[in-house]
Subunit: 193 residues, 2 copies
Amino acid sequence: MPTPARTSLDEIVAAGREILDAEGLDGLTMDRVARAVGVRGPSLYKRVRDRGELIHLIANAAALELGDLVGEAATTGDASRSLRAMVDALRAFARAKPSSYGLLFDRLPDTWRPDRPIVERVVAPLFRTVAVLAGPERELEAARTVVAWARGFIEMELADAFQLGGSIEDAYEFGIERLIAAIATSAPCRVGG
Amino acid sequence: MPTPARTSLDEIVAAGREILDAEGLDGLTMDRVARAVGVRGPSLYKRVRDRGELIHLIANAAALELGDLVGEAATTGDASRSLRAMVDALRAFARAKPSSYGLLFDRLPDTWRPDRPIVERVVAPLFRTVAVLAGPERELEAARTVVAWARGFIEMELADAFQLGGSIEDAYEFGIERLIAAIATSAPCRVGG
DNA sequence: ACCTGAACACCGTTCAAGT
DNA sequence: ACCTGAACACCGTTCAAGT
């Protein structure tokens, strides 16, 4: 005898995202998610193959959100300002939702990672802006340099790895300004804005 | 009736390091380590409080090894070359022992992290060299910029995050050269060398 | 003193039985 | 069709009992 569904995949993913951000990836247990949507753990397996697939769907949703935020940040004036705004947006997302950020960028099982096209939508506006600054021949290397710095800085900030005192904001300002100057074609080494 | 010990803390930590590098952090189970030293899982609790403490001791050992490697790399000629060699050493360690590297730099529970003095021994030679290049006023910001880039680049390399083609070596060369130029005091923006 | 098997907690997962 | 309790596997941890 058919029974009406008590939940849905969308509801499960939405609940999973909230639990991830509130309690971290370790807190994202199948039973925890199930009870949040009003069923028991085993019922989730009607909608997802396993926990990894649920995490993958949550990662896709987080990547889409981040892509929107970065895309919106990119719409401002000149290329330097635009790049700065995009990195600011990435950093703000990491601080607001560190567990979601970690799900997108930490080393985790491949099957958990968001789909590649969705990730490319996040970095595409960044690459476009870097191309303006660095010139098309060095676009790839320049973008990778900026992204590597941004990811490393954010990772260290989240991990509380800046242990030697000093101002983290000063380090961020110094880093982003020097990076932007450093990737510019025949950069005149003017620092600051 | 006293029984002679069948293993030791040193042997347990050494076995743990091998298992970590061969099978990853998830493979580092208490029973796996115990059997490697000839006892059963529960016996380890005579020597470590819990799995976290064992991981912490393994992290300390890995940090000491990495500190030696970075320190040795630092002894070459001028400051630019020395800094380049140290970052190369860091990258080589990450590639040779990605799980050990991850244990030192990934976001993990605080109690698992290596002791701060041991970590400071790793970065100290790097800071000294950066101070020569960037000048003492900007030493901290400059060191953080280089370390953030290096960590981000290595993280992306380990995570196989360079998905858009192109040469990863080219990106590394581009990054390290531009970074070193960018942190130098009133850098003349000469690239290469 | 040190070591072990049995036991428990926790969590992912399966499945037979309910509706 | 969907949901559930019971059950199992796996792993960290405790502990009473062995030597």
